[in-house]
Amino acid sequence: MKHTITPEQARLHAYADGQLDPENSLALETELAQDPEAREQVDRYQEMNELLRHYFDPVLDEPVPPTLLVNRSRPAGWSFITQMAAAALLLAVGLFGGFYLGIHSDLTPQLAAEDAEHVVGEVVMAYSVYTPEVNHPVEVSGDQRAHLVNWLSKRMGRNIVAPSLDGLDMKLLGGRLLASDDGPGALLMYENPQGQRVVIYACLSDEKSSAFHYAQQQGVSVYYWVDNEVVYAIAGEISRDRLLPIAQSSYDQMIF
């Protein structure tokens, strides 16, 4: 079975799929302006991509059947839930529509729905207000990490940790104290070399602990959880997939 495709056609596909390098992509864009037929072709490809994703994407949000989380190649009783994987599991499990394994449900009461929305709203607000700041994004800068952490912990009455995210290319810019509806709140801000910022927000909660959750509001992705009566939320204007490792690493460093 031999089918050929011309290099011109192949370029259109690659362009529609975002797989051309910037230089070629730019050159093709100029050509497309002169070639309505090719332009339409590209538009159709992209529309079909969107349609297919619209159809299949909801599978990503379905709860994962617990059986899939068991490593069957191990003797009975072994599962993904072993020591170091536990945190990752809680996290992964929380992603899928608040589903979690029965064995964890006693330990990790779910956040009440309105409580959760509240936290998401607060962190998205804090993100939107402070991250665009050029000159004063933070009150205490990241090079005074110890001072920052002590100050925030003292005001919060809880031990606050500023996780190190250098491995993920996110540098601590610093932090500030906020007034949340439930008393003092702490905001930490991180930035990567491209200038992309994410914030970690912490405030007091009535809950003791919770599973890991994901939410999105106004284009801002948020992961949040409660640990030891403090609710933590991590927010950024990046995709869920890209925020996940940052959230995961913070979670690992912040729970005790």
Binding site: D17, R44, N49, F56, D61, M84, L95
Partner: protein, 173 residues
Amino acid sequence: MTTRQSTFSAGLIENIPHLRRYARSLTRDVQQSDDLVQDCLDRAWSRMSQWRDDTNLRTWLFTIMHNLYVNGVRRSKRQGGWDDYDPHHTPDPRQTGQESMIQMRDLELALSKLSDDQREILMLVCVEGLRYEAVAEILGIPQGTVMSRLHRARDALRRTLEGGEPMKLRRIK
């Protein structure tokens, strides 16, 4: 657990939703697709030593799943797959919003008219957004074939969506 094991298990967990989405497109049946995912994860665990840190875990997992599907499910076509698609059924409400129900039904119908090869390439490129090199690796075909197969698949999907005569797949040898 070693660091490598925990990285590996975290990677598997992270990829499960993507594997489920891909499997769903292959089998169209929730139960069958989760069986396929389960087989894929079992295989991945048993071959963990063969996974090299510098290879993309998702590509590696998708390769395993593709091979399992080609060697197993596809060989013994089971009930409920795309071949048994009933154009009069109601699309899975979890996969659609009310307003786009008709559009989704058209899409399902169009997908049911494609070959397995064509559906697979559309999933990997259009839905999963994988690089063509990775798709070639997963399917075990040259990149040129990826391009021509993609071209035909999009052409076929476009034609059926536009309500033209549903394209009968011809095998040109």
